[in-house]
């Protein structure tokens, strides 16, 4: 049954009133936020400008969330509250950041770790700050910024992989500051010459190691002799595994050998090559002919394999350029590359015998590759040489046709 018209009108009014009420409530909320912003803006324009694009602003935080104070007051008396915080020591900064970042419940929605302060206290920075009140060491804001803190995933962030060397270099390339702490100030410059830096800056590989990959971030400390292998082994798993089976492993365990660093260096580490044998082994074994002989055997085996591989690549490439079908040979090259790369890694065992079976397999693959390319070249040569007889045959045929024509013409004559 249809309801009378008069009964429907009040219902419509209720809807309109509800919409207006919600709009007013939302406007009131916005005005409250603006009141906070506008109050701080009276004096802190620059800070507000920096803060506006920060990760904290994006998360909906405001000045009072870190600093407290009374945002309703528009002059300096806004600071005169019990909850006002503006730390003037680095310990205070660490504690202020940790008041949220160590709070599991507050960080859970953002999926952030809450152990940064605990880790920081184990770092050299944290030790210097909390144990020795050294106000020159790095604290949260020195690496992340103050008001303009960005997510580490943002390319403009101070802690984005490509910016980390510069961020650390802010202190660690400062000779005056490093001299006070008896630390070298050339490590960032050295890093920039390293293969790790080439991967990061030139090849754009964001997984390439930066300062924090080896030293840690919040718990930053230099790896000791015993930890070098562990640190490098995070990425160079296979080399680490093989090194542990080498004669050097025992010396490293006894603290007499600085594992990877002894041969490869640290901050200025270069791409490993066979040439490294010439310089690194003689540092300790210059007067040990037996070890130098082993070095020459290992280097010779790998060097010969690399040269053979290069020859095979050149041969297959040449055949491909000549238009020959080299699919099978390309596949053999991949197999050869696998063998030679395995040999390069296996030299960390510092023994020739384990490399021999791989070298033998490699030789077989290279021999087959070169043999296949030679067969293809022979076939191509044969086809080219066959052109001569073919042309001679065509000339002969032309002569025969000419003779036949003459014969037929002669026959037709009366």
């Amino acid at each position: 049954m249809e309801r009378p018209k008069m009964q429907r009108l009040p219902q419509r009014h209720i809807h309109v009133i509800a919409v207006i009420a919600i709009a007013c409530w939302r406007l009131a909320g916005t005005t409250a936020v603006h009141a906070q912003t506008i109050s701080c803006l009276n004096c802190h324009t620059n800070e507000m400008r920096l803060f506006s694009t920060s990760a904290h602003a994006q998360a909906g935080l405001n000045c009072v969330d870190c600093h407290g104070g009374d945002p309703k007051i528009s002059d300096e008396t806004a600071h005169a509250t019990d909850n006002f915080r503006s730390p003037d020591t680095k310990q205070g900064i660490a504690d202020l950041c940790a008041s949220c970042h160590s709070d599991v419940r507050r960080m859970n929605p953002y999926g952030l770790a809450t152990d940064q302060l605990a880790r920081y206290k184990t770092s050299k920075h944290g030790e210097q700050l909390f144990a020795h009140n050294d106000q020159k060491v790095a604290v949260c804001t020195d690496c992340h910024g103050v008001h303009d803190i960005l997510s580490p995933k943002t390319p403009a962030s101070r802690v984005y992989p490509t910016n980390i060397p510069q961020t650390c270099g802010g202190c660690h390339a400062n000779a005056q500051l490093m001299d006070q702490h008896k630390l070298p100030s050339n490590i960032v410059a050295l890093y920039k010459t390293s293969y790790h830096a080439t991967m990061l800056f030139e090849k754009g590989d964001l997984s390439a190691p930066t300062c924090v990959t080896c030293h840690g971030s919040h718990g930053a400390s230099p790896p000791g002799t015993a930890q070098v292998g562990e640190v490098c082994g995070k990425c160079h798993v296979r080399q680490r595994e093989l090194f542990d089976k080498s004669p050097h492993a025992e010396l490293a365990a006894a603290g007499l050998f600085n594992e990877c660093v002894s041969c490869h260096g640290n901050h200025g580490i270069q791409k490993a090559s066979v040439e490294l044998f010439a310089t690194s082994c003689s540092q300790c074994h210059a007067k040990d002919p037996k070890q130098l002989q082993l070095r020459d055997q290992l280097a010779g085996l790998i060097h010969r394999a690399q040269a053979d591989y290069t020859n095979a690549v050149t041969a297959v490439h040449g055949a491909t350029v000549r238009g020959l079908a080299t699919d099978d040979e390309q596949l053999l090259l991949q197999e050869a590359k696998t063998q030679v790369t395995q040999m390069e890694a296996m030299q960390h065992l510092l023994a020739v015998d384990p490399l021999q079976p791989i070298a033998t397999r490699f030789d077989g693959i290279v021999k087959q590759t070169l043999g296949d390319v030679a067969d293809l070249a022979r076939l191509e040569r044969w086809k080219r040489n066959a052109l001569g007889p073919i042309w001679a045959f065509l000339v002969l045929m032309a002569m025969l046709f000419w003779a036949k024509r003459r014969q037929l013409e002669h026959k037709r004559k009366p």
Binding site: V237, A325, D328, T338, I390, F393, L396
Partner: protein, 145 residues
Amino acid sequence: MNDQQPISRRTFLDWLLAGGLLTWGVAFIAPVISYVWPSQRRGPSTQAVSAGKADEFTDWQSKMVAIAGQPVIVIRTPQGFRAFSAICTHLGCIVGWDAGRHQIECPCHAGVFDVNGRVVSGPPPRALAGLDVAVVNGEVLVKSA
């Protein structure tokens, strides 16, 4: 008694011409077969390549096949077949399948990829390139990218 007629110059010329024509025909067709046949057999292909019959694979079993001169690893999982370029994204070694751990491993620097080709650990900077794979009439067909 020798009743053989001496071959006339005309007959000889006809034989020579007939033989020549036959040779010309063979010579014309042979190179065509010689040049066309290998390119069909070995040339680069963007078509699907068979990795064998589907029932030849058990779950978590893999097979290596070559497509256009590149190694490809085909794995059967309970969810279906997967195919990836078998060239490690680190330094280009040929990877292998560890059926026990259900992961793809590189023998050179211990790079590890999961059954979806994603990097699990080690130095590879990116995942293995995936290839389309389908089972058609009981045959596992892999298509190059």
